[in-house]
């Protein structure tokens, strides 16, 4: 899409200059790619409310992103909850003393809802759906199907990208709520059924200390991750070139860039979102 600059005119006198050129190349291509994503985002915003709405593709994507991710989210959330339950139990038992494990409930729920489940769901969906988006759109790009869409009266951004972005924005929070429930159940199962923690106190403490904002802040993060995954998947697909190799590269790049972006965005969102609403 955007050509790399030609460096042949630069006399490479020494290693230092070569490194400087490489560094300059890295930053210039980073800025260019950031610009491409920005332009795609502007196109998406322009097309968001324009008719015709591609309802069929939107519903297909809801199923693809949401329903078909349930199995993988169930597994990761369950084991995430179990291992979180395990470590919390160990922590309370060792450092506070026997009997204090019932306070693990709210900590497990807080950690899962605010951090672990949104991140796990984001990473799982990035691997499963983001890569599929890049592969599908990339294949369409190299086989001229995107050009065909244009000639047959469909705006490729409106037809391919907008439904995926919307579906991803909607389904990630749903998957996160589902993952929260499974994860909390996993933590509960480990503490109450495997380690014999008092069930009533465990539930009472959980309900006493967990706040609705803890869940909502996790859902806000999930929606942001949904946007990141779909945006990167579609962008990589649209810039794929060079045959099967190009599609493979776009798919890998999507998983790498989306995963890194999710982890980085998670930190900034955790910092930006208030710990509680202070009500």
């Amino acid at each position: 899409m955007l050509d790399s600059p030609t460096w042949s005119f630069i006399p490479l006198k020494n290693k230092k200059m070569f490194q400087r050129v490489k560094l300059y190349h890295f930053f210039s291509s980073f800025i260019l790619q950031l610009g491409e994503v920005g332009l795609l985002l502007v196109k998406i915003l322009k097309n968001l409310f324009r008719r015709p709405w591609e309802k069929k593709i939107f519903i297909q994507q809801l199923e693809e992103i949401g329903v078909r991710s349930l199995a993988v989210v169930s597994l990761t959330a369950a084991f995430g909850g179990l291992v979180f339950g395990l470590q919390t139990y160990v922590g309370f038992h060792r450092y506070i003393g026997p009997g204090s494990e019932t306070y693990g409930g709210p900590i497990i729920s807080l950690g899962l809802c605010k951090e672990l489940i949104p991140i796990l769901v984001g990473l799982m969906v990035a691997g499963r759906v983001g890569s599929a988006m890049a592969a599908e759109i990339g294949t369409m790009k190299i086989t001229e199907q995107i050009d065909a869409l244009f000639t047959l009266g469909a705006d490729p951004t409106r037809y391919l990208v907008v439904p995926r972005i919307l579906a991803s924005l909607i389904m990630l929070p749903f998957l996160t709520v589902y993952g929260d429930l499974i994860g909390i159940a996993g933590g509960f199962f480990y503490n109450v059924y495997l380690m014999g923690v008092n069930r009533v106190l465990y539930i009472r403490n959980t309900l006493l200390y967990i706040e609705i904002w803890d869940v909502i802040s996790g859902l806000i993060k999930a929606a942001a991750f949904g946007l990141i995954i779909a945006l990167i998947g579609c962008w990589q697909g649209l810039r794929a070139e060079g045959g099967a190799e190009g599609v493979g590269r776009a798919t890998t790049q999507t998983v790498v860039i989306a995963s890194i972006s999710i982890v980085i965005a998670n930190f900034f969102l955790s910092k930006a979102l208030p710990a509680d609403l202070g009500i």
């Binding site: 050509d3 030609t6 015709p52 599908e136 294949t139 369409m140 086989t143 001229e144 199907q145 050009d147 065909a148 869409l149 244009f150 000639t151 047959l152 009266g153 469909a154 705006d155």
Partner: protein, 248 residues
């Protein structure tokens, strides 16, 4: 009428089009010939607005398409049917959905009427009863014909063919040639055909233009091209490895 004036396009260091001038009149079939990689497909993509030129203008019936925004351009693309070199069939859709895609967007026909037109257009290219098949279930030649049915389904008045006879047997290729001629005669459609196949070019063309080195080096009737003195055109039309064209 399509008018291309002084069109330039480069990809990085590679200069593909270097001042193309060409005119296709209403109801005429113009065949553009040239080597692989000479920029024929790039030229056609400029006409459709899929690529923007570095310099130069393209007019469709007096409207300069090179300056139009994407949404304005989409109104003009209604007039074009395009047969892509690799067919570009949507592989997530059935044959019927592929053929009806443009009809659904470009017309207000009822579902029944659209289905009827899908059948009618598939029949025009010699295909019947395959509406529910997926593109991967078809042979190369069938895919090409489905793509052609899709391109003509919404009755465009300009049809662009990118290598229509590549990948199909000579009999089917000739049937497609007949269809190109019939579309022009019955519906007064303007055809722009890109091909290597000189048999096909001589059969369907009113005029033939040769693209070489980024420019149109010769335009003429099939007869004029057949008898040209230009050694480059001669080498190409006779399919000779020896001659002024060295970079093959």
């Amino acid at each position: 009428m399509i008018r291309i004036i002084d069109l330039y396009k480069s990809f990085g260091q590679k200069k593909v089009l270097q001042g193309v001038n060409l005119q296709v009149n209403q109801g005429e079939t113009l065949v553009v010939i040239g080597q692989s990689g000479s920029g024929k497909s790039v030229l056609i993509k400029h006409i459709l607005g899929l690529l923007r030129p570095d310099k130069g203008k393209i007019f469709i019936d007096g409207v300069e398409v090179t300056r139009l925004r994407d949404d304005e351009l989409r109104k003009i693309t209604r007039r074009f049917g395009m047969l892509f070199q690799g067919t570009a069939l949507f592989d997530s859709m059935t044959v019927g959905q592929n053929v009806s895609f443009g009809l659904e967007r470009y017309s207000n026909f009822s579902l029944e009427k659209i289905q009827e037109l899908v059948k009618e257009n598939l029949a025009k290219v010699g295909l019947q009863g395959i509406e529910n098949l997926m593109p991967y279930q078809l042979s190369g030649g069938m895919r090409k014909r489905v793509a052609l049915a899709r391109a003509i389904a919404y009755s465009p008045d300009i049809i662009l063919y990118d290598e229509p006879s590549t990948g199909i047997d000579p009999i089917r290729a000739d049937a497609i040639n007949d269809l190109i001629i019939r579309m022009k005669q019955e519906l007064n459609v303007t055809n722009l055909v890109i091909t290597h196949d000189m048999v096909s070019a001589y059969k369907v063309a009113d005029k033939i233009a040769m693209l070489y080195d980024g420019r149109i080096i010769e335009v003429g009737t099939p007869e004029e091209i057949r008898n040209t003195e230009n050694p480059v055109v001669q080498q190409f039309t006779h399919g000779r490895a020896k001659g002024p064209i060295k970079n093959w």
